[in-house]
């Protein structure tokens, strides 16, 4: 899998790719097999081009900076912070110490790794949801949902938007139809409803993270969304603990406060406006007002995603979904905000700046 800059003929997964030049020119297929352009290959698997966009190293520094600042803040404030909050904050910090480098490395390594990672997160989040709701006992429906999730991420990998869009209604049709074919009408609505919600959230919703990686400049675009969600979560937590104030939805999650939510929203809007100027330079989205709208949408979606998971947990009567990440709980506890942010951010960016406008469609399947 030699990158283009090293010259020569290319082979990827047994496909001869031919001599490549710059640009998005589709290469002639050999023996009727699909061709993959060198740019598509670079985007998918070449980490050597990770810092081609100058916004990427800046955003990487922004993502890593809190990991260096947080321990200093926690040590300085250890006398004023209640011991339980301090312990919880340290646990969360160590969770982030693992999560941030893993996510940064995935984004930097290539879009292919982002899509593999997003597919893995989708399936693991579905697993936690299924275990919390009892849907995991319905093995057949679970296999259908997982199959749908895989197809959505494969459509993203292929940059095949029509399949990506069609996967959702077709997936729902398969879940509803094939479940009916089991000839077990009792509990049908509950089973299918749980499965469709899961497919919508973890398949279609998180699938937008994969599709966002189809843009030529996907690294800073994806980074700004992921960092915004991370900032939202941390500032919501810090402001909520420090100021408290009236509760946002006491029946759903008594820990969430209005001040925390509003404060986190303002931080996210500020960050998106500041960083977006670099990331979306030269597009219609470099306008601060439009960036503020995108930031607001991300903040609202993040808050709703957080409440959504809390509602699922309250309804299922469970405290935690898993113990995978110390201080955070399960993967779903960590990625709950991202589930709703992913489609919102994708379509907001698509609406204002366009998405993958110059990247070749159907990377693998175009004959």
């Amino acid at each position: 899998m030699l990158p283009e800059r090293w010259g020569g003929r290319y082979h990827l997964a047994g496909w001869t790719l031919g001599e490549c030049t710059t640009g998005y020119r589709s290469l002639p297929s050999v023996s009727g097999t699909p061709a993959v352009t060198s740019d598509a290959r670079d985007r998918l698997i070449n980490p050597l081009v990770a810092f081609d966009n100058p916004a990427t190293p800046i955003l990487l520094a922004v993502a890593l900076a809190p990991l260096l600042i947080a321990p200093i803040v926690l040590r300085l404030g250890r006398r004023s912070i209640p011991p339980e909050t301090l312990k919880d904050a340290w646990l969360r910090y160590w969770g982030w110490v693992v999560l941030v480098p893993v996510m940064a490395a995935t984004v930097l390594l290539g879009a292919g790794w982002v899509m593999v990672g997003a597919a893995g997160v989708s399936i693991l989040c579905f697993r936690e949801y299924a275990r919390a709701t009892g849907l995991f006992r319905e093995k057949f429906i679970c296999y259908l949902v997982v199959l749908g999730v895989v197809i959505i991420h494969l459509a993203a990998l292929d940059n095949w938007y029509r399949l990506f869009v069609a996967s959702f209604p077709l997936g729902v049709a398969c879940i509803a139809g094939l479940s009916a074919a089991q000839d077990r009408p009792k509990g049908y609505i509950q089973r299918v409803a749980l499965a469709v919600v899961a497919f919508c959230l973890f398949g279609s919703g998180l699938g937008h993270i994969s599709f966002l990686a189809n843009d030529t400049d996907y690294r800073p675009r994806l980074a700004i969304v992921l960092i915004a969600v991370g900032f939202w979560d941390v500032t919501r937590y810090v402001i909520g603990k420090a100021i408290r104030g009236p509760r946002l939805a006491p029946m759903t999650n008594p820990d969430r406060t209005i001040y925390g939510s509003v404060g986190a929203g303002l931080v996210v809007i500020g960050f998106v406006v500041a960083a977006g100027g670099f990331v979306f330079a030269g597009t219609a989205l470099e306008d601060p007002a439009r960036l503020a709208v995108v930031g607001l949408l991300i903040a609202v979606a993040a808050q709703l995603g957080d409440l959504m998971l809390a509602a699922i947990k309250r309804d299922a009567g469970v405290e935690t979904l898993d113990l995978l990440i110390p201080g955070h709980g399960g993967l779903l506890d960590r990625f709950d905000s991202l589930i709703l942010v992913a489609p919102v951010a994708f379509h907001a960016i698509y609406f204002f700046a366009g998405q993958a406008v110059d990247a070749p469609a159907r990377v693998f399947t175009s004959g």
Binding site: R127, A130, R131, A132, T133, G134, F136, R137, E138, K139, F140, C142, Y143, V146, Q182, D183, R184, K186, G187, Q190, R191, D315, A316, G317, V318, E319, T320, L321, D322, L323, L324
Partner: protein, 257 residues
């Protein structure tokens, strides 16, 4: 597939019983429930072990009609080899495998992370800690058997026989089923001792025969010490009777020209 989910006909939001445990704790927990992924592993293992026992041990099942098709149930057998739990699971329906648990010695099968992953992932074993076996542990198993209908493969002798003879049964099985309508299916395994006795690492190609007897229920037996003794005596008698049947069958085979 429909039968596999029979307990879910009236769908209630019911979280996994092993929720809140760390992944490694879950594998060795009595509360473990197999999800879609583990079910695929169990099914693949079931198919592979069915092929293995058919080809290498020419497995023969006598009395297959007595084998259960729906949980809950308890399969009780003599024990003389590590092959026993695997062999007893082979004739069961493949789609039951995720809900059939072999009760295995915790100090052997759940000692290391690798052994635990193998025992839980492939064999679908649950640990029984012989040195710290308590009534509470057996009560948890009883609750699992009744509350989350499943099947147990269990060896009431408590250890592998070192010479192929049957050891006296221990009362644990009585504590599991006394006063319930859970059927106990007596089984007898012959040939597994010749194939892989204690101390042998690789199985020999000896023929294994499973004799299955009619199920016994103990709904009218008191769930106390005398009741447990009654259950054990009955089950042990049934298994010994199957052993005698097997001995007679072998004798007839030898006598035939």
């Amino acid at each position: 597939m429909g039968r596999d989910c029979a307990e879910m006909d009236d769908f209630d939001i019911r979280p996994a019983r092993d929720l809140g445990l760390y992944p490694w704790e879950r594998l060795s927990s009595v509360r473990r429930e197999s999800g879609p992924f583990l079910t695929v592993v169990h099914t693949a293992w079931a198919l592979a072990s069915r092929a293995y026992f058919s080809l290498w041990h020419r497995l023969r099942v006598v009395g297959q009609e007595y084998l259960p098709t729906e949980p809950p149930f308890v399969l009780c057998s003599n024990h003389s080899s590590h092959l026993d739990a695997l062999a007893l699971a082979v004739p069961l329906r493949v789609d039951l495998r995720a809900r059939v648990f072999a009760l295995a010695a915790g100090d052997v099968f759940f000692e290391s992370a690798f052994a635990t992953a193998f025992a839980a992932g492939f064999i679908n074993a649950l640990p029984v800690w012989r040195k710290k076996r308590t009534p509470k542990a057996l009560l948890q198993l009883r609750e699992k058997l009744l509350g989350n209908p499943c099947g147990f493969i269990l060896f009431p002798e408590g250890a592998r026989s070192r010479d192929g003879s049957m050891l006296p049964f221990k009362p644990g099985v009585g504590m599991l089923v006394a006063g319930t309508n859970v059927p106990v299916i007596p089984c007898h395994l012959s040939g597994s001792f010749a194939a892989m006795p204690a101390g042998v690492r690789l199985p020999r190609p000896a023929r294994i025969t499973i004799r299955v007897g009619p199920p016994v229920r103990f709904a009218n037996v008191h769930n106390d010490k005398s009741g447990w003794e009654q259950v054990v005596r009955t089950v042990e008698g049934r298994v010994r009777s199957l052993r005698e049947d097997q001995d007679r069958a072998l004798q007839r085979e030898h006598e035939q020209p």
